[in-house]
């Protein structure tokens, strides 16, 4: 479908339906015409005899620092997670800083150090970079773009088209922490909660799961902007199948639930920066979940639903008392700039 919106609005960057339309309706037809590949978190390309995974991501979060993380660390984890959920281990990264005139050096140094620590934790080398400075008022302090390359995890292959009815949907932990933390950190609401971003590198969890269940892993995604509902709607669309979730199984902290109830947001639409969804063949689901639960940071991983034939191309959420509803992609822009 051709992109018909006359101008770019914030919603086009919110990760939901509008973002998808922009990519599928304008970028893809011109830049990836005839590729036939599904849009994924990272691309796997052959270079000589080797296969490498490559991805890129930009970070425009406001405020730069927030409980549980900051833009420098987010810029590493975000890109490494995109590689991880495509079934690759990040090996090297390059970075571009766009800095605003007047940015205090101390603020920049803090982010460079945060980035170095995150690279260290992820075991990834920074191999190059670029810096640009723009006039005051043009960049909210700083924007960062990172590009990562990785090597495929042995035996792991993810593709929405390999997903089958009966497959289980695993979630690595509580959702919504990042989006709600940023919303509160902006200080525009008179709300406070003891909450921090979940920003982290999810590769150790995925590697642990792969050791036990690699052949059963069919699809993975990190539900960042647009949240779990948007990621699973993309899966439903790409696979042509239905996703049925059990609402009570989905782990959500009380602080996140409370803020969502108060602000009229759906936790399924709230961004995460340290969680992932995995679709695993039923015969491997227990092993995969066990591996996650036994790995640090995966204690609250849980099965939240399963793939069904129906409702095709949709996500259905069922409640314990027998009600059900459709969970659509994020429409519009629920939250300010979060990553």
């Amino acid at each position: 479908m051709r992109f018909r919106d006359p101008q770019i609005e914030m919603a086009h960057g919110a990760g939901g339906k509008a973002s998808r339309k922009l990519v599928e309706g304008l970028f893809a037809p011109i830049l990836f015409a005839g590729s036939g590949e599904l849009l994924a978190d990272a691309a796997h390309v052959a270079v000589g005899n080797a296969s490498i995974a490559i991805t890129t991501d930009s970070f425009v979060v406001k405020p730069l620092r927030f409980p549980g993380g900051s833009i420098g660390e987010l810029a590493v984890n975000g890109t490494m997670n995109d590689l991880a959920v495509s079934g690759a281990r990040g090996e090297a990264m390059v970075v571009t800083f766009i800095l605003e005139e007047g940015l205090p050096t101390s603020v920049l140094e803090y982010e460079i150090r945060a980035m170095a620590d995150a690279l260290d934790r992820a075991g990834v080398k920074l191999v190059g970079g670029d810096t640009k400075v723009v006039e005051r008022g043009k960049a909210d302090g700083m924007y960062i773009t990172t590009t990562g390359i990785g090597s495929p995890l042995p035996g792991v292959s993810v593709d929405a088209r390999s997903v089958r009815p009966g497959d289980r949907i695993l979630l690595s932990g509580p959702i919504g922490d990042h989006g709600i933390t940023i919303l509160l950190a902006r200080g525009e609401l008179d709300l406070e909660a003891d909450l921090s971003s979940d920003s982290r590198c999810v590769l150790p969890l995925i590697e642990a799961m792969a050791i036990e269940a690699a052949p059963g892993i069919r699809w993975m995604r990190d539900p960042t902007r647009g949240g779990v509902a948007t990621s699973l709607n993309e899966l439903a669309r790409d696979s042509g199948l239905g996703i049925v979730l059990s609402e009570e199984a989905i782990p959500i902290r009380d602080e996140v639930r409370g803020a969502c109830e108060l602000l009229g947001l759906d936790p399924l639409h709230i961004a995460n920066e340290g969680q992932f969804l995995a679709v695993v063949a039923p015969e491997y689901a227990d092993a995969a979940l066990h591996a996650l639960n036994c790995t640090e940071g995966g204690e609250r991983a849980i099965c939240i639903g399963e793939v069904r034939q129906e409702p095709a191309r949709s996500v259905l959420v069922t409640t314990r008392y027998g009600g059900s509803r459709i969970a659509d992609m994020l429409i519009g822009d629920a939250l300010p700039r979060i990553c």
Partner: protein, 377 residues
């Protein structure tokens, strides 16, 4: 989570559902109107239709402030926003509501200074922080939000803040309920009364409905158990041939309302002789304007307002849906030209609008198995 989980308890919900099945006469068809958009949203979000017998039909009422606002008012507000140095501040619900030349968000993308606030007090704060700008708060809502607008205007006057004004679109719920009852194609058995509005106005204003129209009204909370209990209370009255006003939402709604809030409203706001409602047309004494004592903070008196009148797109049947005559999916445009991403009618914009609720939560569900997941959880 306290005050939430106990009202979503599966055992209690199963018992309430069983009681509704027991009380509902299978020979009868019940048409119950929930006045408030918050209830509409909750009914869809919690999938409550799945636990109700098929002969209980819930009709979605006019209690969605964004939905009943005529497009001309949005155009008027955005016309003021075009002035040099004006910040247009409004609740998030307003942001995607289409005006003739686009929604507030589309205006923002073209350079208009449009900002989301969570309360009118935030807009006043914004005015204090931006003394070289004029902040106009585009006020919408029923009696739920009108008191906070009134209190904010009192504060603006007390503090002598000159660069702040309110474009007042507040409406009142009772005339809308009267208009629905007067609609000839409407046959209703009872009302689920608005919860939040009633925290302000109390339950007495509904007594005429019970007395004169012989329809029961039960003021209800917004959790699944609240709504089911309200339906039980309505069915009991209907079964006994009674028509009374009852208060299910006692933990929040005082029978006589909130005197302090009513007092603030009365001091600052006054009834307009008439006001246009989207879908319902002009209704007399159905909306509030700012009293002359506060004229300096009234955007309609302070600025030249074009007074735009826009007829709704002919093909859109918002009026019929708003009155409960048509179901959302029966509108010719539903899910085709009119979707939450590209709303034509306002009912498709607000999450409290019945079209958006239906589209987001129900649309496509018919194909779905009504499933309980045995293999998970």
């Amino acid at each position: 989570m306290r005050y939430v989980d106990e009202f979503r308890d599966p055992d209690l919900i199963a018992r309430a559902s069983a009681e509704i099945y027991r009380l509902a006469d299978p020979e009868k068809h019940y048409r119950i109107l929930e006045v408030c958009g918050g209830h509409t949203h909750a009914i869809y979000r919690f999938g409550l239709k799945d636990v109700l017998p098929s002969n209980i039909e819930l009709i979605h009422g006019p209690g969605c402030p964004v939905c009943v606002l005529p497009m001309g008012r949005i155009d008027d507000g955005l016309a003021v926003a075009q002035r040099e140095g004006v910040i247009f501040a409004a609740f998030g619900d307003m942001m995607r509501v289409p005006g003739t030349f686009g929604s507030p968000l589309e205006h923002k993308a073209r350079g208009t200074d449009v900002r989301v606030v969570y309360s009118p007090a935030d807009a006043l704060q914004m005015a204090k922080k931006n003394p070289d700008k004029h902040v106009m708060f585009f006020a919408i809502g029923f009696e739920t939000t009108a008191p906070s607008t009134a209190l904010t205007l009192q504060r603006a006057r007390a503090e002598g803040i000159q660069n702040f004004s309110v474009f007042c679109n507040h409406v009142t719920i009772i005339p809308a309920m009267r208009a629905i009852l007067d609609s000839p194609d409407m046959r209703l058995d009872g009302f689920i009364g608005p919860g939040h509005v009633s925290t302000v106005i109390g339950c007495r204003p509904y007594e005429w409905i019970a007395r004169n129209e012989r329809k029961p009204v039960v003021t209800s909370g917004f959790e699944p158990l609240d709504l089911l209990q309200s339906i039980i209370m309505l069915l009991r009255q209907l079964g006994a041939g009674e028509a009374r006003v009852e208060n299910q939402y006692k933990r929040v709604v005082p029978w006589d309302g909130n005197p302090a809030a009513l007092d603030a409203m009365a001091k600052v706001l006054t009834l307009r002789p008439y006001f246009e409602w989207r879908g319902l047309g002009f209704i007399s004494q159905s909306a509030l304007k700012i009293r002359d004592e506060f004229a300096a903070w009234d955007a309609e008196q302070r600025f030249q307002i074009p007074g735009t009148r826009v007829t709704d797109p002919k093909a859109a049947q918002c009026g019929e849906v708003l009155k409960g005559v048509l179901k959302p999916a029966q509108c010719k445009l539903f899910g085709k030209e009119c979707t939450p991403e590209h709303p034509i009618g306002a009912l498709m914009v607000s999450s409290e609008g019945s079209c958006a609720a239906h589209y987001n939560y129900e649309h496509r569900k018919a194909e779905a198995m009504v499933a309980t997941i045995s293999s998970v959880a």
